[in-house]
Point group: C2
Chain length 116, copies 2
């Protein structure tokens, strides 16, 4: 991942409303949520929500597909992973004890949900 893409993604997430939307979609999983449902869940005006969803979309953090009258948004897990990997890059800096806990966090995340 290049610095430019990372800045774009971080800028998109550096906004309380958008961060809430993104985390909501992460929790919603790959099936995603309709824009209207997101608006109801977050209490944001439709035009503001549409604008923020578009920003997240351009940043590569969410994907969208139409289903009838509704438009379903879902988190882009691949790019989320890429962003995290980019931030983790070079975190060792020759000091294993620095980055070792990161692996623990990731496996804890999985352990909490009971995955292998």
């Amino acid at each position: 991942m290049e610095t430019g893409s990372a800045v774009a993604a971080l800028s998109a997430l550096a906004h309380e409303g958008r961060l809430n939307i993104f985390r909501l979609l992460v929790r919603a999983g790959p099936e995603g949520m309709a824009a209207g449902d997101i608006a109801r869940a977050t209490g944001v005006l439709p035009n503001t929500l549409s604008n923020n969803l578009n920003i997240l979309n351009v940043a590569g953090l969410v994907t969208s597909r139409r289903d009838g009258r509704s438009i379903i948004y879902a988190a882009a897990f691949d790019n989320m992973r890429r962003l995290l990997a980019f931030l983790m890059e070079d975190c060792c800096a020759g000091k294993p004890e620095i980055c070792a806990p990161l692996a623990a966090i990731a496996s804890q995340c999985c352990a909490a949900e009971g995955c292998a």
Copy 2:
């Protein structure tokens, strides 16, 4: 970690100059770097750099200590870990295959440097 702190940290990183500084400090490790050395390494004017370092400091991403005439900045690895954990939170969403690669990334990071 609360949403507010996460937004503050993400806002601080959502800037090309600051992201470069932060990654430079991550690579520099716990010993950190003097402000002047950072300025020379990045080619940024001292006052602009000072401003950006202060923003990173307030966001909790770097720490500073004085050493004679120089001020040494170092990445705050603890808070960096907290931020990553916050973003990973709930990433499973009942689908183990989503978050499993994250653990792989973390251990890869360690493996690359040969840590346990």
